[in-house]
Amino acid sequence: MRILDSSGDTVVTWDRHDADSIEHARRVFCQLHAERRLAFAVPTGGTARDTEPVRAFDPDLDGEIVWVRPVQGG
């Protein structure tokens, strides 16, 4: 998962075979979701055109989740 922040983005990774890292990532997912951030999944090798919203944490996701902020009119 990539979380857009002041460093550019912070990366949170997990190992599909490591329950602890999966649980860590799941908690982060829930935390960010509670903070009203939005998760979009980009499949491996894809571009923004292939983006889809993500509503639940899936440790077997093939691709990358990018966390962004909701948009508003300027």
Partner: protein, 304 residues
């Protein structure tokens, strides 16, 4: 003796002035506390180890110039990875890029000035303003703003356009028509065309002769109509249209009229004669490359 209460790190404030902790244990168990200053490392480590995202302690705007450059470079790597080759080239050259959607195209790259060009309809262009929440708090590098908008636009376009502020709208001009000169009879139309040609106004003369051709065709005199339509087409191809009209559109209309009449006539030698006559009429007054090029183009279009 009871155990000392502990502190659980919650989050740092975006402006870096302090951080929030939760008291664990003791009479104030569950209370929240704001502590001025940066959070100590051991609290941060505990939070991360416990499965918590801890944002960087300083906003992007508060970083040193070197740190800002590094953060922007990181953000740009992500943004570029999400773009196709054409978008990447555009972004590197101009700082912006077009996003193609089913309904139109949108340009990202200038804050508060997103250009939206829908396909079809009478709306030519709109300037929109859409931003990520908190964008003006200096939280992220500029490239992250485009990543934020780009992903939202592709994944949830309805959300994007639902919140967009429309700053400016441009509409497409109404379709133009060739003048019909409805109040003029056939003879008057022919005279009008001749007057324009003698004055060297090939544009107005071509339109008048085109109107004459359409009137003749409607009344069933197709052969005579063709004799007017072909010279009219050559005239408008040679002429410079006035700035206020859609010259290309009107030229196509006049040439298409000639082409449809020629196809109905189905007599290539005769059509070639007509083009010769039209050519000679113009050449009497002007003999230049423009006329030769127009003749070549007209011949090709009449044969297609």
């Amino acid at each position: 003796m009871s155990a000392r209460p502990g502190l659980r790190f919650l989050e740092a404030t975006p402006d870096g002035r302090g951080y929030l902790v939760e008291i664990q244990g003791g009479p104030h168990d569950g209370d929240l506390l704001f502590v001025p200053g940066p959070p100590p490392a051991h609290l941060l480590e505990g939070a991360v180890a416990g499965g918590r995202y801890v944002p960087p302690p300083r906003r992007y705007d508060d970083l040193t110039p070197t740190e800002r450059r590094e953060a922007q470079a990181t953000a740009e790597r992500l943004l570029l990875a999400l773009l196709d080759e054409g978008q990447q080239a555009d972004y590197r050259a101009t700082g912006g890029f077009w996003v193609e959607l089913a309904e139109g195209r949108l340009r990202l790259g200038t804050l508060y000035h997103l250009i939206w060009r829908p396909h079809g309809g009478d709306l030519a262009e709109q300037v929109l303003c859409v931003v990520p929440e908190g964008h003006d708090e200096g939280l992220t590098p500029p490239a992250d703003i485009w990543t934020n908008l780009l992903l939202t636009l592709h994944a949830t376009p309805e959300q994007f356009f639902a919140v967009a502020n429309v700053l400016r709208t441009s509409r497409r001009p109404a379709p133009q028509r060739t003048p019909a000169y409805a109040s003029l009879g056939l003879d008057a139309l022919a005279q009008l065309a001749r007057r324009h040609y003698r004055a060297g106004d090939w544009w107005a003369g071509g339109l008048a002769e085109h109107a004459l051709a359409r009137r003749l065709a409607t009344s069933g005199r197709r052969r005579t109509a063709t004799k007017c339509a072909v010279p009219a087409a050559l005239s408008v191809l040679v002429a410079d249209p006035p700035a206020e009209v859609d010259g290309a559109f009107l030229r196509d209309t006049v040439v298409d009229t000639a082409a449809s009449l020629v196809r109905a006539a189905d007599s290539p030698p005769w059509v070639a004669t007509l083009v010769d006559l039209a050519d000679r009429r113009i050449e009497v007054q002007r003999d230049d490359r423009r006329v030769r090029a127009a003749r070549t183009e007209l011949t090709a279009r009449l044969r297609s």
